[in-house]
Amino acid sequence: MLDYTTLKLIWWLLIGVLLVGFAIMDGHDMGVGTLLPFVGKDDTERRVVINTVGPHWDGNQVWFVTAGGALFAAWPLVYATAFSGFYWAMLAVLWALFFRPVGFDYRSKIHNDTWRRTWDWCLFIGGFVPPLIFGVAFGNLFLGVPFSFDSFLVSTYSGSFWALLNPFALLVGVVSSAMITFHGAIYLVHRTQGEVQRRSLRAAAFFGGLMMLAFAAAGVWLWTGIPGYVIQSAVDTGGLPNPLAKTVVREAGAWFANYERYPATMALPVMGFVGVLLAQVLARTGRTMAAFWSSSLAIIGVIGTAGAALFPFIMPSSLDPKSSLTVWDSVSSQVTLSIMFWVSLLFMPLIIAYTSWAYRVMGGKVTSAYVRENSHSAY
């Protein structure tokens, strides 16, 4: 069995991989959902848009479900504290997600304009709300979250839903939302042609720009106005996890400490910007597949930027800093981490293999002709 410290680090990376996987895979169909009412003007165009992700949205959503399951298994305290603390935010995400399966599957089963338009807006909500709220939640991690533990590790949360909607967190929400919408736009450029493709290119230009602007602004704000958290006591990285056994203080500029200590991590924010710019150029020159990968690279960069800044913190507590959850003290036991590591190592390549196969089978441009010919079976 790998030693505990290594396993804890591996699981920090693996949760990161699952989040990135979620953002790339479910992200592009959420972006498509967000853009649906705007890049598709009539019913046929909208069906084209929906059918670019029709065969895949369900598999993509499993990245989200699996990330949730992995969080439960690997970081149970984080799962418990975040989901119960962010109660209304999580419910908003959940209820927005309700609109997706039924939206995709039921929309085109009835020939009625009002029915279809209603479902189009449902798909918009299902695509727009989750990335926005995840961004806002991430923003709040940098500020600290008001929770504390008693000696039996029962967590109490003392904030409200509205307190989550502070300006900095909302700005991070814009980063996340714009990034995912940009990614969806690039995907649409890859899978469509004609008018829809032209509109998607315009959307990509706008949301790519917005994302870079908001990302830069959030960085400056973090640098100038938001103190980070630092563990003051000695850390036994390989020890039994106990979040109450440390002392934590807030310190100006601490969220940039990792970038000073490991300058190589500076590559992550750079990747965020370069990925977006490159995707724009590639999409415009017709290398749409490469554009999609480049936009995925931007996602890795942006999520990585946040993760590297926070490390080793996962969820700092503003109410009782020593209760803060970190990579070292909110994890499952060595046995569980080890088993789950090997299980992931076995299944992840398989999942990637058959998902790629599914995309290959269903590949190519989705056209108006395709939608018309398959009007009884397509979405």
Binding site: V62, G68, V102, Y106, S332, V335, F347
Partner: protein, 517 residues
């Protein structure tokens, strides 16, 4: 201390959303194999009719599947949102099968379902059949993993409490996988799903036959459903009996409650067919029993005793008293981890820690528990008898009725005479709700029967909740009611519309009620 109202509302929300989810899951699990059978016949014989059958029933399958997906995410969220302490306390063990379920089952099922619907023209026949089979495997594997998780709640093997981390930790993963309760539950539950899928196809086909339209299509569908349903209903009953035979304590308590067995009878115990349980006086006001049957079902022997409720409660009283010692020692250990005396005392009594925690429902510091509180906690350890007794009988009764129906259908299907037997077709049509009722009641027996625990003997339900406000719970519950009602109306509207229209909805030009282009 956690308010009882919060606990009750959290339970209500979980029960409501789980039962609602379980309206869609059994149909998915069962129908997917019917699709496999139909498509296999198509691939082997090349008969277009079987392809149309796969596609039409697949369409109805899809309408149901969408809500299954929608409502499934709720449950994954809810452990964290509403059962935070539970999630922390057992995430180490319980989270693992959930994560594996995602990686091994959901990805497979959800990726393949896209190809199932959209891949007909892009895959060869054989490839498409493989896709359908993988989709079926995926959905059934998901049942396996979630029932391994649930089986562990009933019979928490392969794990141990750690006072350093204040939670249960995994000691033996294989014990969790091959937990008898999990395995018995898995086969019983998926078989119940197969019956549900078969009943769905059987009833709707019967309706077409009664209306005398799309007769050839309906006859073939009826035949597949009758054979598959008969095999499945036999398996549900045999394997349901297997869940009854279990050595676990949770299972013994449940059995005593659902049999209204107050006293420990000399082996082999008799079986109460009908009884009027009297909770207050701990006796049955009236009962008809068959000698020996219970003893044989419950112990697979003639000489082993099954403990009655009074005996179980007496044992649990002892465990609660030792549990107080365990909780007290744990408190001392949490305050000063190097307290050797406390550690020794804790190790000695830790098997009963969960029983000591039961008192936390009534008092913050268990050392202050009065005899009345202890009495209440003892009474809590066995679920209320009447709801268990009756719901179990409804489930078994429906199972027997369905066995009768599927036997009759299979018999007449083999003889090829069913299409002109309106009584049989009507019987099949009106039996449509039966498997759903049986499944829901079965869920109730399993989960209500485990109370007052979320993890039997380890973690009481009232400690498992998140510390939320009662208002939040009212709000979220209201939200679920609104969303789920609207979704159900939309789903039923589409399901009825397409079931009524029949295979004509495929737009192939070969059936009645053709879809308009």
């Amino acid at each position: 201390m956690v308010s009882e109202q919060l606990v009750d509302l959290s339970r209500l929300q979980f029960a409501a959303t789980a039962l609602y989810h379980f309206l869609f899951v059994p149909l998915t699990i069962g129908m997917v194999w019917i699709l496999v059978i139909m498509e296999s016949v198509y691939v082997m014989t090349g008969k277009q009719l079987y392809k149309d059958m796969t596609r039409f029933w697949g369409k109805l399958f899809g309408i149901n599947f969408a809500l299954g997906v929608t409502t499934g995410i709720t449950l994954e969220f809810q452990f964290g949102t509403n059962w935070a302490y539970y999630s922390h306390y057992v995430g180490n063990i319980f989270g693992a099968p959930l994560a594996i379920e995602g990686m091994m089952a959901f990805f497979l099922e959800s990726t393949m379902i896209g190809l199932f619907f959209f891949g007909w023209d892009r895959l060869s026949r054989q490839q498409h059949l493989v896709v359908t089979i993988l989709m079926a495997l995926g959905s059934n594997l998901s049942a396996l993993w979630i029932l391994i998780a649930n089986g562990w709640m009933q019979n928490p093997v392969g794990a141990e409490f750690s006072y350093e981390t204040m939670r249960m930790e995994l000691t033996d993963f294989w014990a969790v996988l091959f937990n008898h309760d999990a395995q018995a539950k898995f086969v019983h539950t998926v078989s119940a799903g197969y019956v549900t899928g078969a009943m769905f196809v059987l009833s709707i086909s019967s309706w077409y036959l009664l209306k005398k339209r799309d007769v050839e299509f309906a006859k073939r569908s009826f035949g597949v459903a009758a054979a598959f349903g008969f095999a499945s209903v036999c398996s549900v009953i045999v394997l349901g009996d297997e869940s009854g035979y279990s050595v676990g304590e949770a299972q013994q308590t449940k059995m005593a409650a659902l049999e209204a067995m107050w006293e420990t009878e000399p082996a082999p115990a008799s079986f109460n067919v009908i009884a009027l349980p009297n909770e207050a006086e701990m006796k049955n006001d009236f009962a008809i029993h068959i000698p020996w049957v219970m003893g044989i079902i419950g112990t697979r022997s003639l000489d082993k005793q099954i403990p009655g409720i009074k005996e179980i409660k007496a044992k649990n009283r002892e465990r609660i008293l030792t549990g107080i010692q365990a909780v007290t020692a744990l408190n001392a250990l949490r305050a000063s981890p190097n307290d050797e005396a406390a550690r020794k005392k804790f190790e000695e009594h830790k098997a009963d820690l969960g029983f000591g925690l039961l008192l936390k429902k009534y008092v913050a510091d268990v050392r202050d528990a009065t005899p009345e509180m202890i009495e209440k906690a003892v009474n809590d350890t066995v679920p209320r008898v009447a709801p268990m007794f009756w719901s179990f009988r409804v489930m078994v009764g429906l199972g027997m009725l369905m066995l009768l129906l599927f036997s009759a259908c299979l018999w007449h299907s083999v003889k090829g005479t069913f299409a002109n037997k309106p009584w049989l077709l009507k019987w099949a049509l009106f039996s449509l709700p039966m498997p759903w009722i049986a499944c829901e009641v079965g869920w109730f027996v399993a989960e209500y029967g485990r109370q007052p625990w979320t993890i039997y003997g380890v973690l009481p339900t009232h400690l498992s909740v998140s510390t939320l406000s009662v208002e939040s719970l009212y709000g979220s519950l209201a939200g679920f009611v609104v969303f789920y009602t609207v979704l159900l109306i939309v789903e039923m509207f589409l399901m009825i519309k397409f079931a009524k229209q029949g295979p004509g909805s495929l737009g192939t030009g070969r059936y009645a009620n053709e879809a308009h282009h």
